[in-house]
C-alpha cells in the first residue's frame, strides 16, 4: 500500500487538489451567485441547485477546455517547434515525428513495448497519436459544454434583465462566449511560454521539469 502511494503520489496529489478545489469552487460560486440573486430580488439557490446549474457548469467547463487545449497544443507544437536551452524542447536536430527506430515502433519495438506499438498498421498509427487524440477530444467536448452551459447562463441573465434570449448559434458569435474563452486561453499560453523560456535560465533542483542545477543554459532537451 505504501509503495503504491509512493509510486502514484504525483497523480494522487493532483487528484486530491482537483477534488478539493472543485468543492471549494462550488461553495464560493454558490455564495457569489446567491449574492447576485438577492440583489436582483430573486430567490437564492440551494447548493444542489447551484452545482446542477448552467452557471456552475460554464465556470467549470471554460477552465477545463483551456487546460486541455494547452496540453494538446503543447504536445503538438513540441513535435515540430524547438526552444534552444529549454528542457521542454527536444534536442535541436530532432524536430518532426522522428524515425521508427527513435520511437521504438514496429520492428524496433522492445520486449515490453505496448502491443499496439509493436503490431504495425493502423493500430500503431492510432497509438502513435493517442495522447493528442484524447487530449484534443476532451478539449472539444469541454468547449462544447462551455458553449451550451454558457448559452443557458447568459440567457438566464438576459431574462433577469427582461431581454429576449439568444439562439445557441447567436451566442457563439457573442462577446460573452469569446471573453470567457480567450481570458482562459491567454493565461494558459502565457504560462506555457513562460515555462519554456524560464527553464532555460532557472532551475528547480530535483524536478523532472527542470534541467539539473549545474546544466549549462545552452543545453536543450535535458531534464533533471
Amino acid at each position: 500500500m505504501r509503495t503504491f502511494l509512493r509510486h502514484n503520489s504525483l497523480s494522487l496529489f493532483f487528484g486530491a487538489l482537483f477534488v478539493l478545489s472543485l468543492a471549494g469552487q462550488s461553495v464560493a460560486g454558490w455564495h457569489q451567485l446567491n449574492a447576485l440573486q438577492v440583489a436582483e430580488h430573486l430567490d437564492p439557490l440551494t447548493w444542489t441547485g447551484y452545482v446542477t446549474s448552467s452557471d456552475f457548469a460554464v465556470d467549470v467547463a471554460e477552465n477545463w477546455q483551456s487546460e486541455f487545449l494547452q496540453f494538446w497544443l503543447y504536445l503538438m507544437a513540441t513535435v515540430w517547434l524547438l526552444q534552444k536551452g529549454s528542457p521542454e524542447s527536444k534536442e535541436l536536430d530532432k524536430a518532426g515525428r522522428e524515425s521508427d527506430e527513435d520511437q521504438k515502433i514496429g520492428a524496433h519495438a522492445v520486449a515490453d513495448s505496448p502491443a499496439w506499438a509493436r503490431t504495425g498498421g493502423w493500430r500503431t498509427r492510432v497509438y502513435s497519436s493517442s495522447l493528442a487524440m484524447v487530449m484534443g477530444a476532451i478539449f472539444l467536448a469541454s468547449w462544447l459544454v462551455q458553449s451550451v452551459a454558457g448559452w443557458a447562463a447568459f440567457n438566464e441573465q438576459r431574462l433577469q434583465q427582461l431581454q429576449d434570449p439568444l439562439s445557441w448559434t447567436s451566442y457563439l458569435r457573442n462577446a460573452d462566449f469569446w471573453a470567457r474563452t480567450l481570458q482562459n486561453w491567454q493565461s494558459e499560453f502565457l504560462a506555457v511560454g513562460a515555462m519554456a523560456v524560464l527553464t532555460i535560465y532557472l532551475r528547480q533542483r530535483g524536478s523532472s521539469q527542470s534541467k539539473p542545477v549545474g546544466q549549462p543554459h545552452g543545453s536543450t532537451g535535458v531534464e533533471g
Binding site: 497523480s11 493532483f14 487528484g15 440573486q37 436582483e40 430580488h41 430573486l42 430567490d43 439557490l45 441547485g49 446542477t52 446549474s53 448552467s54 452557471d55 457548469a57 467549470v60 467547463a61 477545463w64 484524447v134 477530444a137 476532451i138 467536448a141 469541454s142 462544447l144 459544454v145 451550451v148 452551459a149 443557458a152 447562463a153 440567457n155 438566464e156 431574462l159 433577469q160 434583465q161 427582461l162 431581454q163 429576449d164 434570449p165
Partner: protein, 135 residues
C-alpha cells in the same frame, strides 16, 4: 492523469449537459401555466389570485408605484388577453412565456414560478418596458 479519470470526467460533463437540457424542458409547462393563470386572473377580475402569482418584489413595486393594494392595482394594468400560441423558453431559474402578442417573464421561487415582468412592451435593442416588474 489516467485515461480512466479523463473518461469519467468527460462522461460527467456530458451527463451534466444532458441533465441541463432535460431540466429546462420539464419546466416549460409549469412556467406557461403560471403566466396563463396570471393573465386569466386579471381578465376575470381576481386581483388576489393575480397578486399571488407575482414575485414579492414585483408586488411591492406595484403597490409603491400605484399607492394602492396589489389586489386593486394589478387589475388596472393591461396585461393582455394571453390568447394565441404559447412559446416558452426556460433557462435555469428564469423563463420567458409568449402568449400571442403578450410577453411574461418569470423566475422560480422555492419551486414555484412567479412573475417578475408583465405588461411588457418590446423596445428595439434594449430590455422590455414592463409596467409590472421587479425594481
Amino acid at each position: 492523469m489516467t485515461r480512466t479519470t479523463v473518461g469519467a470526467r468527460l462522461a460527467l460533463t456530458g451527463a451534466g449537459a444532458l441533465l441541463l437540457a432535460a431540466c429546462a424542458g420539464s419546466q416549460d409547462a409549469p412556467a406557461r401555466s403560471a403566466a396563463q393563470q396570471l393573465l386569466r386572473a386579471v381578465d376575470t377580475g381576481d386581483g388576489s389570485a393575480a397578486c399571488a402569482l407575482l414575485a414579492p418584489a414585483a408586488r411591492d413595486e406595484l403597490e409603491q408605484q400605484s399607492g394602492r393594494p396589489c389586489e386593486r392595482a394589478v387589475l388596472q394594468e393591461d396585461l393582455g388577453s394571453g390568447s394565441g400560441a404559447a412559446h416558452v423558453e426556460v433557462y435555469d431559474s428564469m423563463a420567458q412565456v409568449r402568449l400571442g402578442a403578450d410577453t411574461v417573464f418569470l423566475s422560480r421561487f422555492d419551486g414555484r414560478w412567479l412573475v417578475v415582468g408583465a405588461a411588457c412592451t418590446p423596445v428595439a435593442g434594449r430590455p422590455y418596458d414592463c409596467s409590472v416588474a421587479v425594481p
